[in-house]
């Protein structure tokens, strides 16, 4: 007799030094089911998945696979049983072709024992076709954009006989169109009987694509709902344990009419003659598909990359920016989209990261950094942004995503900026922290700081911005006041159909 569930995890507990990560958690999934594992950062989702993939061993509880109890000996064991995970950060060799990545470690060989290109190419084509993915097997992975790299990653998981596919925030780097494609791939997999565990913070997506939602809070089960019966508010309250009626705070003050920054016809890598301006205390949202040039434009403005043409005016006077230090000197702070690789020095402390941009100002006699000033500034931001840390000397690597993001924000605020450029300010952080970050952004704008928000989440832009600029293939294709904006208008401009 077939067991009802493909995977059943019963009464799983896991203790780490000082923290109880999981307490008697149950989780199960059937063949061909898409189950969302929902919870704030730190709720225990990753720990549970690490147990399922053999990375950690549970302290108590058992795992059943097709009704039989299994004891995973390690990640390899889980993989060989067909339990496969796709991480937020991809594990592809970018210097190899798509097909070589598909069969990495599992190569097709000719009779003589050499790598067989013909066979690999044929198999890769078949695999891509089955998933309705349109990727040339010979293309180098480095030439693919994030969305397509992810598709290669999914195909790679299926090149091996995968029965359970865990997707950890697969949509965080994708645009809405790409997400639609991803969902149709997920549905194809579902039809083929693959069980998919979908981890995401984006409730709209969860409601759209999953069959069932399992909610964790503080390492315990706190909800198991059929998706068709679920509502967004219900899920949010399950996750945070309280009803959030008002997701995002609105502004209390309208932006002024005075223009702070004017960008005139700047060109550079991926950017074609972009011009726009921003007023004091205004929040301008940049929407567009991934690769449309939003973050590239931000990098040109702050001097992280060289612009080939164009000028930037601040208060009507030309600004010469050749290096990020010039931008900071002019009061332009930047929050990069990738906090781990660009925003933080992970092995350094909260204090050292927070004051990274302003060490010059903290110098006292003999160029020594003033301890007291540094402590005061760090404590001020820990307090103001409600950053949860044991001490200011904590290594930022050990903080949760939301708190790390707040440190990057603190670092930018320490500059006391007049213009704040935020790229994906809430990527990969949980709902509660996200609302807090949005509150912070609105408060800053109320203090007359101008803010540029680049985001792939349209909802976020609609919630925050006073005005939306849309980019398509390196050019600004629309400038829409928030009152006139709707999803359709923005999407049209984003795909260049204006």
């Amino acid at each position: 007799m077939m067991a009802e569930f493909l995977i059943e995890m019963r009464q799983i507990s896991k203790q780490f030094p000082g923290v109880r990560a999981l307490r008697d958690v149950d989780f199960s999934i059937k063949k061909g089911e898409i189950v969302c594992l929902l919870g704030e950062n730190g709720a225990g989702k990753s720990t549970l998945m690490k147990i399922l993939t053999g990375v950690y061993k549970q302290d108590c509880g058992s795992i059943y696979y097709e009704g039989e109890e299994i004891h995973l000996t390690g990640p390899r064991d889980a993989y060989e049983r067909g339990i496969n995970i796709i991480f937020q950060e991809f594990n592809l060799c970018s210097n190899l072709s798509a097909m070589e990545n598909l069969f990495l470690g599992n190569e097709n060989r000719t009779k003589e024992g050499f790598f067989s290109f013909t066979q690999t190419r044929k198999k890769a084509k078949e695999l891509f076709e089955k998933l309705h993915i349109d990727i040339e097997p010979d293309i180098k992975v480095s030439q693919l954009n994030v969305a397509r790299q992810q598709m290669v990653e999914i195909a790679k998981a299926l090149a091996y006989d995968t029965k359970v596919l865990i997707m950890d925030e697969p949509t965080s780097a994708l645009t809405s169109k790409e997400i639609t494609t991803l969902f149709s791939i997920m549905r194809t997999l579902k039809e083929r009987g693959v069980a998919i565990i979908f981890i995401s913070h984006k409730l709209e997506e969860v409601l759209e694509v999953t069959d069932r939602i399992v909610v964790l809070r503080d390492g315990e089960n706190c909800g198991n709902v059929i998706t068709s019966d679920a509502t967004k508010n219900q899920l949010v309250s399950l996750m945070v344990g309280r009803e959030i009626h008002n997701f995002f705070t609105k502004r209390t003050q309208a932006p002024s009419d005075e223009i702070l920054l004017e960008v005139k016809g700047i060109c550079g890598n991926k950017i074609k003659k972009a011009s726009f301006n921003i007023k004091k205390g205004e929040i301008v949202g940049f929407a567009g598909l991934v690769g449309s040039g939003r973050s590239a434009l931000a990098r040109l403005i702050i001097g992280a990359e060289k612009k080939s043409e164009g000028t930037i005016l601040m208060d009507g006077k030309e600004l010469i920016i050749r290096h990020p230090k010039d931008a900071i000197a002019a009061g332009i702070a930047y929050l990069p989209e990738d906090r781990k690789n660009m925003g933080l020095v992970l092995p350094m402390t909260v204090r050292e990261n927070t004051t990274m941009c302003i060490h010059r100002k903290l110098q006292r006699l003999f160029g020594l950094i003033s301890n007291k000033d540094e402590y005061d500034i760090t404590d001020h931001y820990i307090d103001e942004l409600k950053i949860k840390v044991f001490s200011r000397e904590q290594i930022v690597e050990t903080l949760s995503g939301g708190n790390q993001q707040k440190i990057v924000i603190a670092k930018a605020l320490a500059v006391t900026p007049r213009l704040l450029i935020l790229c994906e300010p809430t990527r990969g952080i949980d709902v509660g922290a996200k609302a807090e970050v949005h509150n912070i952004i609105a408060t800053l704008a109320d203090q007359d700081i101008s803010i540029i928000v680049v985001s792939s989440e349209l909802q976020e832009i609609f919630n925050l911005a006073d005005r939306i600029l849309v980019m398509h293939e390196g050019a600004i294709t629309a400038d829409i006041p928030i009152g006139e904006a709707n999803q359709e208008v923005v999407m049209k401009a984003a795909i260049g159909a204006v």
């Binding site: 900071i328 020095v345 092995p347 350094m348 060490h359 160029g367 020594l368 950094i369 290594i395």
Partner: protein, 314 residues
């Protein structure tokens, strides 16, 4: 400080090694645990220690400086020439020599940080060329006849403590303050931890990287002067494989080869381990050939320890 877990494991492990080694040599030899031998070890490691502070800066940026042994040779020859043939007084001769050493660091730094040539290649090239230059300058012959007063630097005492040891301790103290309390010092850590984040924070990363190599060159120059004073002749072959001793000491001291983590106090421990090891082996009459085998194994051990600690962290 940078008190993350893997670092702590490394730190205690290394302190344990120091104590074990000292204990071992105290038992197997009569002469190890005597005041004069301990002073002797301190004096012997002083040059290594001074150079190691510079190497620490370089490795923290995730770089490497292989040229330190050859810098020592070039300093030896140039310093000796200036004091003998050129007849310069000691002080200006020493200053010029230090400037030359710093310039070597500058060249290394510019090639690595501004031009972008891998540090391993740049410093390997300067290591080879400078060694050649040292031989060329003195035509392969030792330089004799240094002024007597110059001996004080390497051979003198202040009270019971040898002057080189005092210099080393001062260098370590300044190194600690520099790395922990100045912005450049902190950027040196940051550069090894995440270069892009540091650059986006408005810091001229190439300049910080270059400064690390200049410090390495300058401090090795200082070590070279002490060496010159101790042997009292200019020797073109001096400092051969010195770079390996310095790197071993720094990595033993817990500085990660990947950059970004490690402490100057750990390096001091690493320096003494290296020193005690070679002193102990000499006391035990172990041949120089075997000593070399041991040194290689210690380097491998140090880097393995670093690698394993990093693996555990991930």
């Amino acid at each position: 400080m940078r008190a993350n877990k893997s670092n702590n494991i490394k730190k205690y492990a290394i302190l344990g090694v120091l104590i074990l080694l000292a204990g071992f040599f105290s038992i197997v030899t009569d002469s190890f645990l005597t005041a004069s031998n301990l002073m002797n070890i301190s004096r012997q490691v002083s040059m290594l220690g001074i150079s190691a502070v510079g190497m620490t800066c370089v490795i923290l940026t995730s770089g490497i400086d292989l040229s330190v042994g050859s810098v020592m040779a070039i300093v030896n020859i140039i310093g000796a020439k200036l004091m003998t043939e050129a007849g310069l007084p000691i002080f200006p001769a020493a200053v010029i020599t230090l400037i030359v050493a710093a310039i070597v660091g500058l060249i290394n730094g510019v090639m690595i940080s501004y031009v972008g040539v891998p540090a391993f290649i740049v410093t390997l090239a300067t290591m080879i060329s400078l060694r050649g230059l040292a031989y060329v300058l003195c035509a392969g012959m030792p330089i004799w006849g240094l002024p007597d007063a110059f001996r004080t630097l390497g051979q003198g005492y202040l009270g019971p403590i040898p002057i080189p040891v005092i210099i080393m301790l001062i260098v370590f103290a300044i190194g600690w303050v520099f790395l922990n309390r100045t912005k450049t010092g902190r950027y040196i850590y940051g550069l090894g931890g995440n270069k892009e984040a540091v650059r986006l924070a408005g810091i001229r990363t190439a300049r910080v990287g270059t400064i690390a190599y200049i410090i390495s060159g300058f401090l090795t120059g200082l070590a070279g002067l002490i060496m010159l004073s101790r042997i009292n002749t200019g020797q073109p072959k001096i400092g051969t494989s010195f770079e390996m001793d310095v790197i071993t000491a720094v990595v033993l001291g817990g500085v990660s080869m990947r950059g970004g983590s490690g402490s100057i106090l750990g390096v001091l421990v690493g320096v003494f381990i290296t020193g005690i090891l070679s002193n102990g082996m000499i006391l035990l009459n172990i041949s120089e050939y075997y000593q070399q085998i041991a040194k290689g194994l210690v380097l491998l051990f140090a880097v393995t320890l670093d690698t394993v600690a990093n693996l555990r962290k991930n």
